[in-house]
């Protein structure tokens, strides 16, 4: 297939290889080095997309990331929406289609890999155009560690869009750069965000250009997090269009983009081209295209006087220069066929090149909080004052130093929009933002409603909110608003530049943090056994905990009732390894614990265990658990599973910031131990079987003590503690030995029907005994006294964290919420956790006086009924009263308030 608009020679594409691709169902060819836009233009295809609101045909306007129109969807090899044809490198087998503003996300998982990289450097140079290359070379020659990033596959920036000369050969510059050992050059990499302290984020496309040939083991894209001592912003400038009626037809293109298609890709944008400009820069495009064989229909210069030398050169080639004219209309359908001037003259053409001047790409500088100022000579915003450790150079800084090879000319004119032709009566077609289909009339409607800020106009009109974020339209919008309001654009300013500079796929931002790698999953040493035995799991923080172990045919309810019955009537065991464990060691360990816990810990004897509660300085319960004294100077405390890190940090904070004189070290030992509660009337028999040398009797091994013992042949710490009210032991072994000890307990318990149970049964058993779970039955506003645990608050200790707050007036109010039990009158009613409680059998009008709420609610095998725990105002004074819980179905359930301990109040079962 021939590409009729491809010149026979020239450009930086590899003509020795041909790539085939499909666009909108038609097959085309191109070459390595092409992008989708240049390959389409080579075949004369300008009509690429459709406008979102008015379904107008749209073409290719630019040659880079600033493209406002040519949105495409890639369909193969993997669907990707909302890319611009100017930024998709061509590859064999590419299948794409033009979009009408919206694309289609893949419905299959993305098979590609994504990654994150980190780099630190002395100097980061963003942009490898002439200014960036000089900056990078200068820094490298001075011995600096340099990172140079550029979004194109080759270095050179704007040089790639100019005639190739020996003294500005990007390839030679690239070769010199890469010879420096401390130079990292990242091509196909777009710096999209400039954050605090010179952190710059960049997106590197590694295998996009390979299509289906991309190797699976190489990440497709990766995010670079670059921390630089100095950042050099050398991002160049974006050419600005001029707004005029019907300025959106395919074939209307920025003049600089046409140069790029000519010199870089060897592609002509058309055969008969008109040029509309407000400044000198478009003349060079006209001359170069004429020299390449294009008929230049006219150069239409909005300035009253055209630059002499340029005009002379045009005349040499027979090109008409029409000074003091402007375009205010175009004709055509899927392609422009002619332009109409303000004079009324009409000029046939198949392409119109436009230049309204150049806007420095100040995005990164502005993101880094750099202040901008309006430069009237450019009609653009430029960096106002330098930021520390950030330099903006070249065109990005508004430095458009004349190429010495080009003639001297005249200053450009600032022209935002050409007035609509007088006779026009249809809808406004002077598009400011081509992607959003927003016109001059839309801007005037916004200012007409009273909007005075460009930020408000942006949000009202949506100008600058599309994929291109107004790279070509933003300054135009500011200019049109300023003219409409009669204010100086310098005072009006521009909208805020925010990251990202170009769209960044979420997959790239996520990098490797996807699926199972998104967040660590913590499992205990016994986890494989639980999986093999059919456990269902509950997430507790990052931990996977067995929730219950259903037998075939069981529901959760029947499984939990069975597990509870085993613990109360026979023997059961669970995996308690996730309990937080902190080793507290040092001569002052007891002193620290006395200050942290509400009760006395320093008096604990070696070999004993004590339950403790810790509070905040506000007197509210933070956590609870057991403390075992291992030796004179060593304790091991346990915390609630989800609170392990918080408690360690809490203790460290006090130790480091208030009591640095205490000689104590805190160490997390949570994962060092496997902890197995062995529960039930037959637990003593099972323990005796696996620990033949341990005196397991009540006298030798009383409640709240612990013993070093050999269990199943390995050293263990066995505690007599109970979270169920039953006779129970807690076997602690080093994690490595855990699975063998668990198996040994299962085997030894087989004659007694030993039953593994999960967190749900644990919760039911403890709730039957009125034991609160911190974080479930408390919410940070609950004191030990509210929980009915005044007994755990030392009266002897002169002070501990929280003590002073217990005497606060607020903490001694009689209407504080207390933890109580609830027995629904209908024994089958399981109250929802969170249900509110009221005093009346019918719900009064709002505001409904609410007395409290349900914190825990279960069905109990031991009680033969459902029950609940609740926090209720003056709850202990209400014991025996009937309250009411309005339910979701509109009914109101009567409940009796009881003591929270509902099972074995006298504690007879504890010693077996």
């Amino acid at each position: 297939m021939t590409a009729p608009f491809r010149l026979p020679a020239g450009g930086r594409v590899d003509r020795t290889r041909t790539l085939t691709f499909t666009f909108n169902g038609t097959d085309y060819t191109g070459h390595p080095g092409d992008n989708l836009a240049s390959a389409l233009l080579a075949h004369g295809v300008h009509h690429v997309a459709t406008s979102i609101a008015h379904a107008r045909p749209r073409g290719i306007v630019a040659a880079g990331a600033e493209e406002p129109c040519a949105l495409v969807q890639i369909e193969a090899p993997f669907p990707e929406p909302m890319l611009t044809a100017t930024t998709v490198e061509l590859y064999d087998g590419l299948v794409a289609r033009g979009l009408r503003g919206q694309g289609r996300l893949a419905d299959a998982p993305d098979p590609a890999r994504y990654d994150t990289m980190y780099a630190h450097c002395d100097v980061l140079v963003v942009g490898a155009g002439p200014a960036g290359l000089v900056a990078a070379l200068t820094a490298a020659r001075a011995g600096a560690r340099v990172v140079l990033v550029d979004d194109q596959p080759q270095l050179g920036g704007s040089l790639l869009g100019m005639p190739q000369t020996a003294d500005a050969d990007p390839a030679a510059l690239a070769a010199e750069l890469t010879a420096f050992p401390d130079m990292r050059v990242l091509t196909r990499t777009t710096a999209f965000g400039h954050y605090d302290d010179n952190l710059v984020l960049a997106l590197e496309k590694r295998t996009d250009q390979l299509g289906a040939a991309a190797p699976a083991h190489v990440s497709r894209q990766r995010i670079w997090r670059i921390r630089a001592k100095q950042v050099v912003v050398a991002t160049g400038a974006h050419e600005r269009p001029v707004v005029f009626a019907d300025n959106d037809r395919p074939g209307i293109m920025l003049a600089g983009a046409a140069r790029t298609y000519l010199h870089r890709y060897g592609v002509l944008p058309g055969r008969r081209i008109a040029v509309f400009t407000t400044n000198d820069s478009a003349y060079v495009a006209a001359l170069e295209l004429a020299d390449a064989g294009v008929e230049i229909a006219a150069v239409i210069d909005s300035r009253d006087q055209a630059p002499e030398e340029w005009v002379r050169r045009c005349r040499e080639r027979g090109i008409d220069v029409l000074a003091g004219h402007a375009v205010n209309g175009t004709s055509g359908g899927e392609r422009i066929t002619g332009v109409r001037l303000t004079s009324g003259a009409e000029i046939p053409c198949d392409t119109l090149l436009v230049s309204g001047g150049w806007s420095p790409a100040v995005h990164l500088f502005s993101q880094a909080r750099g202040k901008l100022r309006y430069e009237p000579a450019l009609g653009a915003f430029v960096p106002a004052e330098p930021l520390p450790d950030v330099r903006v150079v070249g065109a990005a800084n508004g430095d458009f130093t004349r190429d010495p090879a080009q003639p001297e000319g005249l200053p450009g004119q600032v022209l935002w929009a050409v007035p609509a032709p007088a006779e026009s009566d249809g809808p406004d077609t002077r598009f400011v933002d081509l992607q959003r289909d927003a016109t001059v009339t839309d801007v005037l409607r916004a200012t007409g409603t009273g909007l005075r800020s460009v930020e408000h106009v942006k949000r009202y009109t949506t100008i600058g909110t599309a994929h291109d974020q107004g790279k070509t339209s933003g300054v135009l919008a500011s200019g049109i608003v300023a003219e409409a309001l009669g204010v100086d654009i310098a005072d009006l300013g521009t909208t805020t530049f925010r990251p990202p500079y170009t769209p960044v796929p979420f997959a790239a931002l996520a990098g490797g943090d996807r699926g199972a790698l998104f967040d660590p999953v913590r499992v205990t040493a016994l986890h494989p056994w639980h999986v093999a035995h059919g456990a269902l799991f509950e997430n507790v923080g990052q931990w996977k905990r067995p929730w219950y172990f259903p037998l075939p045919g069981e529901t959760m309810e029947t499984a939990v009732l069975r597990e509870c019955r085993a613990a109360r009537e026979g023997v059961a065991l669970m995996d308690g390894s996730t309990l937080g464990k902190i080793d507290v060691r040092g001569p002052d360990a007891g002193v620290l614990l006395d200050r942290i816990y509400t009760n006395l810990m320093s008096s604990l004897k070696v070999g004993s265990v004590r339950y403790g509660v810790m509070c905040g300085v506000d007197g509210m319960v933070l956590d609870d658990g057991t403390v075992m004294r291992v030796s004179e100077n060593e304790f091991v405390l346990t915390t609630t599973t989800g609170n392990a890190a918080k408690v360690l940090e809490w203790m460290e904070e006090w130790l480091q910031t208030e009591w640095p004189e205490l000689r104590v070290h805190l160490t997390s030992v949570t994962e060092h131990w496997v902890t197995i509660p062995l529960v039930g009337p037959r637990s003593r028999d099972v323990l005796a079987a696996v620990a033949p040398d341990l005196q397991v009797g009540n006298d030798d091994f009383p409640f709240m003590t612990w013993r070093e013992a050999t269990v199943a042949g390995v050293p263990a710490r066995v505690c007599r503690i109970s979270f169920s009210g039953e006779l129970a032991y807690e076997v602690n072994v080093v994690a490595w030995d855990g699975p063998a000890v668990w198996e040994a307990l299962i085997a030894a318990g087989a004659p007694y029907g030993i039953t593994p149970y999960g967190t749900e049964t644990m919760h039911v058993l403890r709730a039957e005994k009125g034991y609160p779970i911190i974080g479930q039955d408390t919410d940070g506003t609950v004191t030990p006294q509210d929980l009915g645990m005044s007994w755990v608050v030392s009266k002897k200790k002169p002070d501990f964290i929280g003590k002073r707050s217990f005497a606060r007036e607020e903490n001694t109010r009689t209407d504080r919420k207390h933890l109580v039990g609830l027995l629904p009158t209908d024994t089958g009613v399981l109250l929802p956790e969170g249900a509110q409680l009221i005093a009346t059998a019918t719900v009064p009008g709002p505001p409904v006086p609410m007395l409290g709420y349900v914190t825990s609610s279960y069905r109990s095998a031991a009680l033969g009924r459902a029950f609940a725990l609740a926090l209720i105002q003056s709850g202990r004074e209400r014991i025996g009263q009937t309250l009411y819980a309005p339910l979701d179905d509109g009914t109101v359930a009567p409940v009796t308030v009881t003591d929270p301990v509902l099972y074995d109040k006298e504690g007879a079962r504890r010693d077996g």
């Binding site: 302290d197 940090e649 910031t657």
Partner: protein, 92 residues
């Protein structure tokens, strides 16, 4: 992502740190000698200035050590970092 200089580890990304509120608010020598109002002042009330503020930070994802910093709350600029027990630096 700001850099915060841990006095033990050096400059690290802010995500490694946790904030600890106002610095130099010592635990009262005898809480029980305080009135409810005075105690509440310690428990609940902290300064909230616009400008320089001495505050506590902890290098949670690093050395897990606490330290103090003077930060300008209007600009987020960290003007000084110092170890617990060291006096608040005088910043010109």
């Amino acid at each position: 992502m700001q850099l915060i200089t841990c006095p033990w580890c050096g400059a690290r990304e802010e995500a490694e740190f946790h904030y600890g509120g106002q610095a130099h608010v010592p635990y009262p020598a005898d809480p029980h000698a305080l009135s409810d109002a005075e105690w509440a002042e310690y428990v609940f009330f902290r300064d909230n200035p616009k400008g320089r503020f001495a505050e506590r930070w902890v290098h949670s994802a690093g050395c897990r050590r606490w330290f103090n910093a003077v930060r300008d709350t209007a600009t987020h600029e960290l003007l000084a970092v110092y170890r617990p027990g060291e006096p608040k630096p005088v910043i010109a």
